[in-house]
């Protein structure tokens, strides 16, 4: 029962994140939403490692790795966004449309 509620929470977080990435216009919010999706997966790992069919520490160790990687990804994302902002003078994601076809 406990596991199901954690899984449900992470599924909701994942869906909110995906919805945000697809619809939000502000580029920073888009990056936040990606973090939300990654953290939903982390929550799953921890829930499975505590209440899952085969409890163990592996899931929590996995989470430590993914938190680090997500931090690196956010850093890279923000850096790219700043470089882009200097060229386009806008943080609206739908202004980034110079390439089409």
């Amino acid at each position: 029962m406990q596991l199901t509620s954690y899984l449900a929470l992470s599924a909701i977080l994942f869906s909110i994140g995906l919805y945000g990435v697809l619809t939000k216009r502000n580029a920073v919010i888009v990056l936040f939403c990606i973090e939300l999706m990654l953290n939903a997966a982390n929550l799953n790992f921890v829930a499975f490692s505590k209440f899952g069919l085969f409890p163990g520490l592996t899931g929590q160790v996995f989470t430590l790795f993914t938190i680090t990687i997500a931090a690196a990804e956010a850093a890279v994302g923000i850096a790219i966004l700043i470089a882009l902002y200097r060229n386009v003078q806008s943080a609206e994601a739908d202004r980034y449309d110079s390439m089409k076809g």
């Binding site: 994942f14 994140g17 995906l18 990435v21 580029a27 888009v30 990056l31 990606i34 999706m37 990654l38 939903a40 997966a41 982390n42 799953n44 790992f45 829930a47 499975f48 490692s49 899952g52 069919l53 085969f54 409890p55 163990g56 592996t58 899931g59 160790v61 996995f62 790795f65 993914t66 990687i69 690196a72 990804e73 890279v76 994302g77 850096a79 790219i80 966004l81 470089a83 882009l84 200097r86 060229n87 386009v88 994601a93 980034y96 110079s98 390439m99 076809g101």
Partner: protein
């Protein structure tokens, strides 16, 4: 008995150790250099490291499979073959980056080569691990480095925009992959693929299988993105068009090949028990076949209305990814013998794609025009370049005496051999469609009058070297396909999907 890292023979990691130490060393050397000094020799040292790693990969062939730390790192014929391919692609990328040298603005900086080496290292980890955690870390090392590489021209709007699209969609895809992995872990309590396989055998016999498919479908979204198959291909044209051409070559060749190895490894170890229940042929195969068919159809038809040369080649590479998925998707019907044809096609793809992008880049740089119309009358302006491009194009289109023909021929036989006639038909029909846009280049080069104002196409010697390697590879694989196929036939592909000897002994 517990094993620590030092109990293992670390010599098998030589290729990775060479690349990582070269990257670390070059970071420090770059710091000590004066601002005004040319950074080209950092590229040369990087190329040297890639060649040294390639030699050490070559020396490891023929040894029995070996694993380190519970399959976190494993070396077997499968990983060695893919590593050789990745290092070849990485070497070509660095060589072509050196071509930009003199007149290109902005010049490639030291960190560019260091990031390329880091990305290459990530790719090498992806092909030589059987543990979800190590695979994920390798994948992210490759992805994060390539996000920066795509945006390396920070004053160029296209380059920045491509990097932004890549980082957003790449982040989403890795979240999907991770979410799928979390279900796989929850089902089995393990991250080691062989342990997962063991649990999966019990699982397919007894329980409700819904979560197996949840994990599979979520991971397929991530995989589909990384190998750029439709319907997860939307980032590809923008990113390939916007990034500097050497990086495009790297993404098209190295990143894609590494992702293919990852998909093969995860599906064929963790989900292999599904074969025994018949669910593989009913679900997994169909999933891959639909991805393959979608990529061929969407890639080839969307390419028809492109006018930008690099964008057109990007759509063509989506279609090629669909072709390469064919042997993997028919694997459940035919068996493991399809790896030679898959690998053969990837080799052919390496040479022809790298070559075609390199020519497109030389033309775009010289004419300051990245449209296909810049190719007009190339046969009179620069006949050698036109000839070379023609070879790459007929290989991409799949005409005889080139590598592309035999590659496609073997893929087609695998589709026919599995009795999936519709897939073979889709392959043939979309190939015929592709003739139209490949011949658009040839039409421009040979049957259009050159623009009198067009400047001479200047090709640096390093670009010629890349083109020479591409042409040699394309023609050699086309004229003597048996040479490579014979070697590939001797490789023990099964070893990649079985426990290593030193793992069983513990």
């Amino acid at each position: 008995m517990e094993h620590t890292l030092l109990d293992f023979n670390l010599r098998v990691m030589a290729p990775e150790l060479i690349i990582v130490s070269a990257a670390a060393l070059l970071v420090i050397l770059e710091l000590l250099l004066k601002e005004s000094t040319s950074r080209n020799w950092i590229g040369w040292l990087g190329l040297l490291a890639v060649i040294a790693a390639g030699v050490s990969v070559g020396m490891e062939f023929g040894h029995p499979p070996y694993q380190i730390l519970n399959d976190s790192y494993r070396v077997d014929s499968f990983s060695l073959a893919f590593k050789a391919l990745l290092l070849g692609g990485g070497g070509l990328t660095i060589l072509f980056s050196l071509a930009g040298g003199k007149n290109e603005q902005p010049k490639p900086k030291g960190e560019y080569y260091i990031l390329l080496l880091a990305a290459l290292l990530g790719g090498m980890m992806m092909v030589s691990s059987a543990d979800l955690l190590a695979l994920y870390v390798g994948l992210e090392l490759l992805s994060l480095s390539s996000y920066i590489l795509v945006g390396i021209n920070k004053r160029d709007r296209h380059s920045n925009e491509a990097a932004w699209k890549y980082v957003v969609l790449g982040g989403v895809s890795s979240a999907f992959l991770l979410y799928g992995m979390s279900f796989l872990y929850g089902l089995t309590g393990a991250t080691n693929l062989f342990a997962i396989q063991g649990k999966m055998v019990e699982m397919v016999a007894t329980q409700d299988q819904a979560y197996i498919y949840v994990s599979l479908f979520l991971m397929m979204v991530g995989f589909g993105f990384k190998i750029a198959t439709a319907p997860f291909h939307t980032w590809t044209p923008d990113v390939y068009q916007g990034s500097p051409t050497p990086v495009t070559i790297f993404l098209a060749v190295v990143s894609k090949a590494a992702a293919f190895a990852l998909v093969a490894r995860v599906l064929l170890i963790a989900y292999l028990p599904l074969v025994s229940t018949g669910a593989w042929n009913e679900i997994v195969s169909w999933l891959l076949m639909i991805l393959a068919a979608c990529s061929m159809i969407i890639g080839n038809t969307a390419a028809l209305r492109q006018t930008n040369a690099k964008r057109l080649l990007a759509y063509s590479s989506i279609a090629q990814a669909g072709y390469v998925l064919v042997p993997l998707s028919t694997l459940g019907f035919v068996g493991f013998d399809l790896f030679p044809s898959l690998f053969y096609y990837l080799c052919a793809y390496l040479f022809m794609t790298a070559g075609a992008f390199a020519v497109a880049d030389c033309i775009a740089k010289s004419c300051k025009n990245d449209q296909i119309s810049a190719f007009a009358g190339l046969s009179r302006r620069s006949p050698w370049l036109a000839g070379v491009m023609t070879i790459f194009l007929i290989s991409l289109a799949g005409f005889p005496v080139t590598a592309g023909f035999f590659g496609k021929f073997y893929l087609l036989t695998s589709a026919v051999g599995s009795n999936q006639a519709w897939l073979a038909a889709a392959m043939i029909l979309t190939t015929i469609v592709s003739y139209y846009y490949y011949f658009e280049f040839i039409r421009q080069m040979y049957f259009r009058a050159p623009d009198l104002a067009a400047p001479r196409v200047s090709v640096s010697w390093a670009a010629w070297a890349v083109l020479a390697i591409g042409v040699t590879g394309t023609l050699a694989l086309g004229l003597f396909p048996d040479l490579l196929l014979h070697e590939l036939g001797k490789i023990d592909w099964h070893s990649a999907f079985a426990q290593a000897q030193n793992a069983i002994r513990q």
